[in-house]
C-alpha cells in the first residue's frame, strides 16, 4: 500500500475539500493507497516517518507552519505543493501589501467591534513577517497550482504516482478553455467589474475588463469566464510567464490590452487600478514572481 499524507499550512481548507470532491473516486484511490496522516480526516497527531506521497496545501504564515513543512519534507519521498498557496503564496500573500503592525492594529486595537487589546502571544505560534509559499522554503517534487486544483487533477497526478508512473497534466492557459471571442475593438477605457454589462460572447479584455486568463495556468476549464466573471488568476501564473524571466503578469496584461485597444501601453498603465489585489493577488508572496526583472511585487510588499 502506498502511504499518503495530507498536511495543511495557512490555508482555507479548500484544497482538502477538492480532494474529497473526487467523491466516489476516493474509494478507488484507496484500493492501493492508505491515508496515514491528514488532520482534517484522521486522528494521527504525529507526522509518520515513511510517507510515500505527501500533499501540502496552504502557505507558510507562522513558525508552526514552517516546522511542519520541514518535518513533512524530511519524512516524505515525494512532496507535492498542492494548490496556489503552497505554490505561489496564494491569496494569503495579499497580507504582504501591509506591514504586520498595520494588520495587527486593524484587528486588535483599531477595530469597530473589538475591545482594544494586546496581540495574543501565549501558546499560539509566532507569525512570520511575510507569507512564504511552501516551495520557497523546501524542495518540492511537483507543483500543482489551482485555488483549489480541480478535483480531477488530484486523480490525474496521484493515480500515476501510486502506480510508479510519471503524471502528465495539462499546461495551457485559461484562455485555451475559454470560448469567448477575442476582438480588436479600439476601446479607450478600462472598466471596473461593477460597471456596465459585459457581452457574454466576447472576451472580457476586448471589452476593457481586467481578466487574467491569458496570464494564468488553466486546468480549471475556464469556469469563471463561463459563469460571466473575469479570471482573477487563482490558478497561478501561466507556464509562459514562469519560464520567461522578462515575462510578468502585469506587463503581459498591459501588452495584451494595448494590442486589443487603441491605447498605447502607457495609457493602459495609467488606468490600471489596484495592481496588488487585481494583478498579483494570488502570487504576491512568490519569490519566483518577485525575482522577475519586470515585476512590480517588490514595490508593493511592505514589512
Amino acid at each position: 500500500m502506498v502511504k499518503i499524507a495530507l498536511e495543511w499550512l495557512a490555508s482555507c481548507s479548500g484544497c482538502e475539500i477538492s480532494v474529497l470532491d473526487l467523491h466516489e473516486g476516493i474509494l478507488n484511490l484507496l484500493d492501493n493507497a492508505e491515508i496515514v496522516y491528514a488532520p482534517v480526516l484522521v486522528d494521527t497527531k504525529e507526522i509518520p516517518d515513511d510517507i510515500d506521497i505527501a500533499l501540502v496545501s496552504g502557505s507558510v504564515r507562522n513558525q508552526e507552519n514552517k516546522k511542519r513543512l520541514e518535518e513533512l519534507r524530511e519524512k516524505s519521498k515525494t512532496l507535492i505543493a498542492y494548490g496556489t498557496c503552497a505554490c505561489f503564496g496564494g491569496i494569503t500573500g495579499m497580507a504582504d501589501l501591509y506591514s504586520p503592525e498595520e494588520v495587527t492594529r486593524r484587528s486588535y486595537s483599531d477595530n469597530p467591534s473589538t475591545d482594544p487589546s494586546e496581540v495574543p502571544s501565549e501558546v499560539v505560534p509566532e507569525l512570520l513577517p511575510i507569507v512564504h509559499p511552501a516551495g520557497d522554503l523546501v524542495e518540492i517534487d511537483y507543483y500543482l497550482p489551482g485555488c483549489p486544483p480541480k478535483e480531477w487533477l488530484v486523480r490525474d497526478i496521484l493515480v500515476p504516482l501510486i502506480n510508479g508512473e510519471e503524471p502528465n497534466i495539462p499546461k495551457k492557459s485559461v484562455c485555451a478553455d475559454c470560448s469567448r471571442r477575442m476582438d480588436h475593438d479600439e476601446f479607450d477605457t478600462i472598466h471596473r467589474r461593477i460597471e456596465g454589462e459585459p457581452d457574454p460572447e466576447k472576451c472580457f479584455l476586448s471589452q476593457g475588463y481586467i481578466c487574467l486568463g491569458s496570464a494564468t495556468l488553466g486546468r480549471c476549464g475556464a469556469l469563471c469566464t463561463k459563469a460571466g466573471i473575469p479570471c482573477h488568476g487563482c490558478g497561478g501564473p501561466s507556464l509562459d510567464i514562469l519560464r520567461e524571466p522578462n515575462h510578468d503578469i502585469y506587463n503581459c496584461l498591459i501588452n495584451r490590452i494595448s494590442h486589443l485597444s487603441k491605447m498605447p501601453g502607457k495609457d493602459v498603465e495609467k488606468q490600471i487600478y489596484d495592481i496588488g489585489h487585481l494583478i498579483y493577488g494570488f502570487c504576491i508572496g512568490s519569490t519566483i514572481m518577485e525575482d522577475k526583472k519586470v515585476s512590480l511585487i517588490t514595490e508593493l510588499v511592505k514589512k
Partner: protein
C-alpha cells in the same frame, strides 16, 4: 504542575490545540482551546475595489466558501444601494442550500460521526471516515453521495463547487438553464431520501450515547440566529437573541450589529471571543449554529424537517447539550434539501432578469481621494456554523477603507473553551489519561464543527533575521527573511 497537550485537534477544519493543566494531586486546574492560525483578511481587503470582495473572501474558508461569497455579495449590494431581482435572490438562496448540504453532510459523516459510529474509544487508526468505509461501505457511499449533491448544486448556480463566483453586487452573473435546473432538481429530491436514511442511522446513536450528550461540553448560554417571523431562515432576516429560558433578549437588523456584539481578545488564542455587548463579558456568552437556530426559531418551514424539529423540541425543549449540535445539524440538512427542491420547483429560478445595475457612474478614484464621501454595507447570512457578518466601509469610489468580519465560529469560541475546561475537570483525575478520554475533549470541539480557517483576522510577528538589499542610492530593493 503537569500539562497535557492535544495537538493538532483533528477532524476539524483548521489549526487548534487543547491544553489541560493539572495540579499536584492530578486534578485539572485549567484548560483551554487555542486557535493557532490567522491570516489577516480584514486588513488586506483594504485598497481593493469592493466588488472584488465576493471573490476574495471565499478564500477565507474552503468549506463555508459559499456563505462568505454570499454574505460578502450582500454587503456589496448595500454599499452600492442595489437590490437584486427576485430570481437572483432565489439563486443565491439555492446556492446557500448547496452549501448546507455539502457542509453539514461533510461534518456529520466525515468529521463528527466516526466518534459515534466507531465509538469514542475505538482505535484512532479506525476512528475516521476510512474506518467507516471499511465497516459500512454502503453508509460511506451514501455520505459521499449526499455531499456530492450539495457540491453539484453549488456548481450549477455558483459556477464552481469551491470558491463560487456568480454573486455580484446587484445580483448574479449567470442564470440557471432549464437543463441545469432539471438535473439538480432530481439531485435535490434524491438527497431527501439519502438524508432520511442517514437520520435513520444517526437517531439510535443519539440514544446510545445519551450519557455523552448529557456530560460532554457542559455550558449554559444565550443563543443567537436569524429568523423570518419565527421561521428558520438561513439566507436573510433580522437577528434574534434568546436567553436560556427561550425569552427574547434582542432583535436587531444586521446593520446594527455593533450595538449588540463586541469581541474580546485573550492572550492565548488568535481567535477573538464575541459576546453580547449589553450584557458584558463573559456573562454575555452566546452560541450560534444549528443548535442555536433550532432553539431560537418557532418553526422549520418544510415538511419532513418540520416533523423532525417537532420531535426534537418535544424531547429537549431549549437544548443546551453541546452534542445535540449533531442532531440539529441533521435536521437542518433535511431542511436544506427540501428547501432546494422548493426553490427549484419555482419557475422564477430560471428567470433571466438576474442583475440590477448602477444608475449613476461611480466617482473617479481621483475625485474620491479629494472627497469625504463614504459608503458602507453590512451583509449577514446564516453560515452552516452561524451568523456570518461582512461589514465594508468604502470611499466614494467604492474602494474598501475598512473591513470588519465576524465569523460564525468565533461566536462559539468561549463556549468551546468553557466546554473543554469543564469536561476536563469532570473526567480527568490523575496523570494517566487514556486516548479515549482525550478524544472526548476533542468531541466537545467537534460538536461545534468549528471552522478555524475562518479565524483569519490578524497576523503579527517580528522577523527572526532580515536581510535587506539596498541599491547604490541606498533605497531598499529587496528584503529577505531567513
Amino acid at each position: 504542575m503537569k500539562q497535557i497537550e492535544i495537538s493538532p485537534v483533528t477532524r476539524i477544519e483548521g489549526h487548534a490545540k487543547i491544553t489541560v493543566q493539572l495540579d499536584d494531586s492530578g486534578n485539572v486546574s485549567d484548560a483551554h482551546f487555542h486557535v493557532m492560525e490567522i491570516r489577516g483578511f480584514e486588513k488586506f481587503l483594504e485598497g481593493a475595489a469592493v466588488e472584488e470582495a465576493p471573490r476574495i473572501t471565499p478564500r477565507i474558508c474552503g468549506i463555508c466558501q459559499t456563505a462568505h461569497h454570499l454574505s460578502s455579495a450582500k454587503a456589496t449590494d448595500a454599499v452600492f444601494g442595489l437590490k437584486p431581482p427576485e430570481t437572483a435572490e432565489k439563486l443565491r438562496e439555492l446556492m446557500l442550500m448547496g452549501q448546507y448540504i455539502h457542509s453539514h453532510s461533510l461534518h456529520f459523516y466525515f468529521l463528527g460521526a466516526p466518534d459515534l459510529i466507531m465509538g469514542p474509544d475505538a482505535d484512532p487508526a479506525e476512528r475516521n471516515v476510512v474506518g467507516i468505509i471499511k465497516k459500512d461501505p454502503e453508509l460511506a457511499k451514501m455520505a459521499i453521495k449526499t455531499r456530492a449533491i450539495g457540491q453539484r448544486i453549488t456548481t450549477a448556480v455558483g459556477g464552481k463547487p469551491i470558491h463560487p463566483v456568480t454573486a455580484i453586487p446587484g445580483g448574479q452573473s449567470k442564470a440557471l438553464t432549464t437543463e441545469e435546473r432539471e438535473k439538480i432538481l432530481l439531485d435535490a429530491k434524491e438527497a431527501i431520501g439519502l438524508i432520511e436514511n442517514g437520520i435513520g442511522v444517526a437517531k439510535p446513536l443519539f440514544e446510545q450515547y445519551s450519557e455523552a450528550i448529557e456530560t460532554l461540553g457542559p455550558v449554559e448560554t444565550y443563543f443567537g440566529s436569524l429568523t423570518d417571523n419565527g421561521n428558520l431562515s438561513l439566507y436573510d432576516g433580522p437577528m434574534k437573541v434568546i436567553d436560556k429560558d427561550g425569552s427574547t433578549v434582542h432583535e436587531f437588523e444586521p446593520a446594527d450589529y455593533l450595538d449588540y456584539i463586541e469581541e474580546k481578545v485573550q492572550p492565548w488564542s488568535y481567535l477573538k471571543f464575541p459576546y453580547l455587548k449589553q450584557i458584558g463579558f463573559p456573562e454575555g456568552n452566546y452560541r450560534v449554529g444549528p443548535l442555536a437556530r433550532l432553539n431560537v426559531v418557532d418553526a422549520v418551514p418544510t415538511e419532513k424537517a418540520s416533523a423532525l424539529y417537532g420531535e426534537f423540541k418535544d424531547t429537549y425543549g431549549i437544548a443546551q447539550n453541546t452534542l445535540l449540535y449533531h442532531y440539529a445539524r441533521l435536521i437542518e440538512l433535511m431542511y436544506a434539501a427540501e428547501r432546494a427542491v422548493e426553490l427549484l420547483e419555482d419557475d422564477a429560478i430560471t428567470g433571466t432578469d438576474i442583475r440590477n445595475h448602477l444608475n449613476e457612474p461611480l466617482m473617479s478614484r481621483k475625485d474620491a481621494e479629494e472627497s469625504d464621501a463614504k459608503m458602507r454595507g453590512v451583509g449577514i447570512i446564516e453560515a452552516p456554523r452561524g451568523p456570518l457578518i461582512h461589514d465594508y466601509e468604502t470611499d466614494g469610489a467604492g474602494i474598501i477603507q475598512r473591513a470588519n468580519l465576524i465569523v460564525a465560529t468565533g461566536q462559539n469560541n468561549l463556549s468551546m473553551d468553557i466546554g473543554v475546561r469543564e469536561t476536563a475537570k469532570a473526567l480527568i483525575h490523575g496523570d494517566e489519561i487514556s486516548e479515549g478520554l482525550k478524544n472526548r475533549l476533542e468531541m466537545v470541539i467537534r460538536a461545534y464543527d468549528p471552522c478555524l480557517s475562518c479565524a483569519t483576522h490578524m497576523l503579527n510577528g517580528e522577523s527572526p533575521l532580515v536581510v535587506d538589499i539596498h541599491d547604490s542610492e541606498g533605497d531598499l530593493v529587496k528584503r529577505r527573511i531567513i
